[in-house]
């Protein structure tokens, strides 16, 4: 029993923090938010390269495919830093979701470096190709696909909305659930013509709709095997978005606390008023307890424990709530300033709103936890 990170884990995280402090500045985020997609994309490329140098892009990729072959605990620390820095690139989707699923599919197909999957995996690990996922969403009733097949689909065009990182991704793992035929998971190569950008409230979010065609050679899993992989993906999505939310939450609390020390009203810093203190303390407490819940979920997924889904859901529920509370509190503490485009808070706040709702919001995950707890109780 030792519930703590290793020195190596903390060092990796520290390295990511250092790099992002340099490569992911508020000015970079502002340039991106102002629609300077070109400049933004330029920085995107640089940022992605330095993250790849650190091994972050291939953190979960087996060493045989050029990755670090590390585990979920390491990535959780990295993604907390991504949240803190407001990293706009789809590291969560590429390194946290697509890469391990591709590796699993590759292993299942007895692939190896020579296979299509294996080749992509190497590029993803090396940071040459960004990967993403799409077509899947989490509800309290279970997983649903967001991919809409056209009525006559077998080889026709299908539409997958709200894919994160769509404009930079070179490859996407996309789920669909065909009436009658069940779940399928496809590996879709990038086609810039097939992407329509979808404006999000978060101006640094790269969201798009994919139009693509399922072919036999794009299919990497179907039926129960696809379902099991998607269930794994949902657990990881809950865990890793929880991790990123922790970083966002800490940053918002820090911003608000800094502002509260500086801003004076009624002759003293507003941070000396109890109302401000208690707002911020509540957010800080929520963060404090969301953290170990998230770390435990990382361990459970890393060890593939039977309770891993419930543990991931607890993490997402707590981290989403903490982030929502921190966003609301930070805005209230900033007052009118926080309501402006010029205030940096907005960049983190909007990101928090979006990520809190993504991959199942807090009530969704709580209902998953409750179902799990009731089933466990029934077995006792």
């Amino acid at each position: 029993m030792r519930f703590a990170f290793t020195e190596q884990q903390l060092e990796l995280r520290g390295a990511v923090r250092q790099v992002l402090a340099r490569e992911c500045t508020v000015a970079d985020l502002r340039a991106m938010a102002l629609g300077d997609r070109h400049g933004g994309a330029g920085r995107t490329h640089e940022r992605w390269s330095v993250l790849a140098e650190l091994g972050a892009t291939g953190l979960l990729v087996p060493q045989a495919h050029g990755g670090l072959g590390l585990g979920e605990l390491e990535l959780v620390g990295v993604l907390e830093e991504a949240g803190w820095a407001g990293l706009p690139e789809p590291l969560l989707e590429s390194a946290g979701l697509a890469a391990p699923l591709m590796a699993a599919a590759d292993a299942a197909s007895n692939g190896g470096a020579g296979s299509v999957l294996g080749r992509f995996l190497e590029k993803v690990a090396a940071g040459e190709v960004v990967a993403t996922v799409g077509g899947i969403d989490v509800t309290s009733a279970g997983l649903v696909t967001t991919t809409t097949p056209s009525p006559e689909v077998t080889q026709g065009t299908v539409v997958t909305p709200r894919v994160t990182g769509a404009s930079v991704a070179g490859v996407a793992l996309v789920a669909l659930n065909l009436p009658g035929a069940g779940w399928q998971l496809h590996l879709v190569e990038a086609d810039p013509d097939g992407v329509t950008t979808t404006p999000s409230i978060d101006p640094t979010r790269d969201l798009g709709t994919l139009e693509w065609s399922p072919w036999p050679h794009t299919l990497i899993a179907s039926g129960e095997r696809a379902e099991a992989m998607l269930s794994d993906l949902a657990d990881r999505a809950a865990l890793f978005s929880a991790a990123q939310l922790l970083g966002l939450t800490e940053r918002m609390i820090t911003m608000a606390a800094d502002y509260a020390k500086e801003r004076r009203q009624f002759g003293k810093p507003i941070g000396s008023f109890q109302a401000v203190k208690h707002h911020l303390a509540n957010a800080r407490v929520a963060l404090e307890f969301a953290r170990p819940t998230t770390y435990r979920a990382a361990d459970s997924i890393a060890r593939d424990l039977a309770d891993r889904s419930a543990h991931a859901s607890m993490a997402k529920a707590m981290a989403s709530d903490a982030a929502d509370l921190a966003a609301r509190v930070a805005l209230q503490v900033h007052g009118a300033i926080g309501y402006t485009w010029e205030c940096d808070l907005q960049l983190w706040m909007k990101r928090a709103w979006v990520l809190s709702a993504a991959w199942g919001d807090a009530p969704t995950h709580r209902s998953r936890v409750l179902s799990h707890a009731m089933a466990a109780a029934a077995e006792r």
Partner: protein, 395 residues
């Protein structure tokens, strides 16, 4: 107790509804009023209302109103929201400045300022807050000094968070006329044209990137004595009567919340997956928001009846701001929860055919987020409730 409207009021409602149905622009017709184009479109809409005497129904007829009572005003507001009427670009003037003018302005001032305000010819912005005087309005530093010839004043300083400030013709605000006086004393209420020499406007972009408010800088701006509302040194008292209307009854008709709560029910019917604990969780939030909107309406009718009976509004009104701002946020938060991962989309989801769309809810949410902050943060309002209604000692 009689909660039905008499025939005359019902007739007023019918007339208003018919006019609004015939005239309200179709949804999406007008650009946002925080853009130059949208501002002028909204001004045109104010003129259209004014021409048929719907822009300021509760004002005396001589200034363009219909001289109707408080219930007719509430009815008009209900119908306005029901019809999906545009946001009122003249709101600061009509709902904040005008009530103060009716109480404190000279006949000449009323004749000068009210008709163009009602017609939308002169749009007002508010010069209330300053960078170091937000919730603490008494900390105002912008100053007015007598001019050399002694027949007017010179304004210097900076105001901020001036809603509509980017495009408005006029500004009302308080300035310090007695630099030796402390905090609430020595302030005077001025009316200032935004095109006066020395006035500089710097628009401020909001969360959504639009310029809903502005900073306004005053450098040696000359104003005449008749641009003072009330007396010199009485600005705080005059201003508080406006702040009272901002926080109290007249600004916040319940119609916005009732209308949004109705749409929330529709959204719930369209979007809730119907079974499972998650739907239940959202159901409770939806029901709570809906009930709160109803309670706010009833409370307003309750207060309006007191006013109609000749009583004053009373200190209970200090509860209003907290309640409507939280209700507004609760309605929109519940809606975004129902929209789930689609809530973030700025444009309608092409796949969401015929279903309630996220766009307006997201706009409404951003608008609602400001509620607990402006017009005195809810923290300040809670102090006021505790001190005025419960008699707790000042901190």
């Amino acid at each position: 107790m009689d909660l039905t409207f008499p025939p005359a009021q019902e007739a007023f409602r019918t007339e208003a509804r018919a006019w609004l149905e015939a005239h309200v622009p179709a949804p999406g017709t007008l650009a946002s009023l925080d853009t130059a184009e949208g501002f002028e479109q909204h001004r045109a809409w104010e003129r259209t209302m004014f021409e048929d005497r719907w822009s300021v129904v509760s004002w005396p007829a001589q200034y363009g109103g219909r001289d109707v009572g408080i219930f007719e005003w509430l009815i008009f507001e209900e119908e306005y929201y029901r019809a999906g009427g545009p946001r009122r670009v003249s709101q600061n003037g009509v709902f904040l400045l005008a009530p103060t003018m009716f109480e404190h302005a000279t006949p000449a001032q009323k004749a000068r300022y009210l008709p163009p305000m009602a017609a939308g010819d002169e749009i007002w912005c508010q010069g209330w807050s300053e960078p170091d005087a937000g919730s603490d309005l008494a900390g105002i530093r912008s100053r007015a000094t007598p001019n050399a010839s002694g027949d007017g004043w010179v304004l210097d300083g900076q105001k901020t968070w001036c809603s509509r400030g980017a495009f408005a013709e006029w500004c009302f605000g308080i300035f310090r006329t007695d630099p030796g006086a402390e905090r609430h004393r020595g302030l005077t209420y001025f009316l200032v044209p935004m095109d006066a020499p020395g006035v500089t406007v710097r628009p401020i972009s909001q969360l959504d990137g639009e310029t809903g408010f502005a900073e306004v800088f005053f450098e040696g701006v000359e104003v005449a004595d008749d641009q003072i509302l009330g007396s010199v040194g009485e600005g705080w008292t005059v201003a508080m009567s406006t702040a009272g209307s901002e926080r109290g009854l007249s600004l916040r008709s319940p119609a916005r919340y009732s209308e949004a709560a109705g749409r929330l029910i529709d959204l719930y019917a369209a979007r809730a997956d119907g079974d499972g604990p998650q739907a239940g969780r959202i159901a409770d939030d939806v029901a709570r928001a809906y009930i709160d909107a109803e309670a706010y309406k009833l409370h307003t009718y309750w207060t309006a009846s007191k006013v109609a009976d000749g009583h004053s509004v009373g200190p209970e009104a200090s509860c209003n701001k907290i309640f409507w701002s939280e209700t507004d946020l609760a309605i929109h938060t519940a809606a975004l929860q129902l929209l789930g991962p689609e809530a973030e989309l700025l444009d309608p989801d092409p796949s969401g055919e015929g279903q309630a769309q996220p766009g307006p809810w997201l706009d409404g949410y951003l608008f609602a987020l400001a509620g607990p902050i402006y017009a005195g943060t809810n923290e300040i309002q809670r102090n006021v409730v505790a001190e005025r209604l419960l008699g707790l000692p000042r901190g």
